[in-house]
Symmetry: C2
Subunit: 119 residues, 2 copies
């Protein structure tokens, strides 16, 4: 059993939209990711997804509203809801979601990361 | 869908060892709790438990070692492992764990919180 230092792990991430697995428990992943720019519209039919902002801020675009999520805030996007994260500047996010969750949900394209690396 | 501000939620907590539910997803809870002093030895037979330190630090005592967990660090205690959190000074912690998780695990006593409040 080893503790995980988030600051250290984030310092190892030099790309965007590429989640890494920082922990696993109860069939869920704790993932760390950096965002910048616009992602794609997608949804997860079977997984709720939590976005916890560790540093910076981003906008979660939904079809009927946009929610600005800042450092020390989290947002849970329920399964089935289309969403698109957009970050003007780089943001560091902790994701909490089932291990089965594909980053691009129902869309598979060049931004899909099927088997995230551990960090 | 509403974002949750951790700093605001923590400011509402004025007691110790009494986890509140700040979010729920995929059958899991995001709980917020403040610790100070010594908890009891216990284990969870069916649940892994994640302790993410938001402010301060605490020691997780295990039967074979003690792990100091500081701000921006997390520790996952696997199911079945006896543990006891101890904090010299007040510490603020985010817990990720199945909704079924009882704070005192296999022990039921006056420190048990069977149905945590939402916050």
């Amino acid at each position: 059993m080893e503790k995980v230092n988030i600051t250290e792990k984030l310092s190892l991430i030099h790309d965007h939209w590429n989640p890494r697995i920082a922990g696993e428990l109860n069939g869920q992943h704790v993932r760390l990711v950096k965002f910048q720019g616009e992602f794609i519209w997608h949804k997860h039919d079977h997984e709720d997804e939590m976005f916890f902002v560790l540093d910076g801020e981003f906008k979660m675009e939904l079809r009927d509203q946009t929610i600005l999520v800042k450092k020390n805030e989290f947002l849970i996007v329920p399964r089935g809801i289309e969403h698109r994260p957009v970050a003007e500047y780089e943001v560091s996010v902790m994701l909490f979601e089932p291990a089965s969750t594909l980053n691009t949900g129902n869309i598979v394209n060049e931004r899909t990361r099927e088997n995230p690396d551990k960090i």
